[in-house]
């Protein structure tokens, strides 16, 4: 997603990364990487809980999740990862974001 960030930006998309860490760790990572996303520390997992982020007891942690919301605040895409490699392809998301553009032009 980092590599395709420019494609996402062209589509007028804001990207928010919610990390279950304290500010210092998130700040260190985002500053070091010159990360173009919004980075939000969520150490007490309040936002994660709002979005029902799943927890895997065996892996001792939260499982990744991804959502796309439209400008009206409706979820247009929701994905709860079943494992660490289960991440939606950028192409899928870019297609979805393109469809927003098409529907607004119609």
């Amino acid at each position: 997603m980092k590599q395709d960030y420019e494609k996402f930006v062209v589509k007028g998309t804001s990207m928010v990364v919610i990390a279950p860490y304290y500010l210092e760790k998130v700040k260190k990572y985002f500053s070091g990487e010159n990360f173009p996303f919004h980075g939000v520390p969520d150490p007490d997992k309040k936002i994660g809980k709002l979005y029902r982020q799943q927890r895997n007891i065996i892996k001792l942690g939260l499982m990744p999740a991804l959502f796309v919301t439209d400008t009206a605040g409706t979820i247009a895409y929701a994905h709860y990862s079943a494992n660490m490699a289960d991440i939606p392809a950028n192409a899928v998301l870019l297609d979805l974001l393109s469809s927003f553009g098409r529907s607004s032009e119609d």
Binding site: S14, I18, P20, G39, V40, I47, L66, T69, G73
Partner: protein, 152 residues
């Protein structure tokens, strides 16, 4: 419908199709059922998972193989088709070197957010000190929210 630990436990105890063999035990917690001590994923065990999946369609089954001999850890998501990994087919490994853990995660689908639901509103301070409110940033266009587990 959410299947309780109790329901699954009863199934395991009452039905012989859930006979994983000797020295297999399982533990339960609120969200998952961990079956451990399975020395190998046989066709018979895969059949059990398929039947389990039919009875409890909302459970997700994850398998984790810990190969002690070379310290490699291999995961596969068994939920989709329960196919055996290629390396395991028609091959009987040494029971001493392989330990398999099967994790059955019980997810209450009704509680998950879906397409068409209202995105829960939040306001939070970003790492750079700026306040980020979903209601503000979505005015400019779609928003992708990425919940990560770790930085990579």
């Amino acid at each position: 419908m959410r299947h309780s630990i109790c329901e699954i436990s009863i199934c395991f105890q009452a039905d012989t199709i859930y006979d994983f063999g000797q020295s297999v035990s399982f533990s339960v917690s609120e969200h998952c059922l961990l079956i451990y001590g399975i020395s190998w994923l046989t066709d018979h065990n895969c059949l059990i998972f398929r039947k389990l999946k039919i009875i409890f369609p909302r459970i997700r089954v994850l398998a984790c193989f810990l190969l002690h001999n070379n310290c490699k850890k291999r995961n596969f998501h068994a939920d989709r088709n329960f196919h055996l990994p290629k390396q395991t087919k028609n091959k009987k490994p040494d029971h001493q070197v392989i330990e398999t853990e099967i994790t059955i995660l019980m997810t209450d689908d009704k509680k998950l957010l879906r397409k068409g639901d209202a995105a829960p509103e939040f306001t939070a301070a970003g790492y750079d000190g700026r306040n980020i409110a979903l209601s503000d940033i979505r005015k400019d266009g779609p928003v992708v929210l990425v919940f990560i587990r770790s930085f990579s």
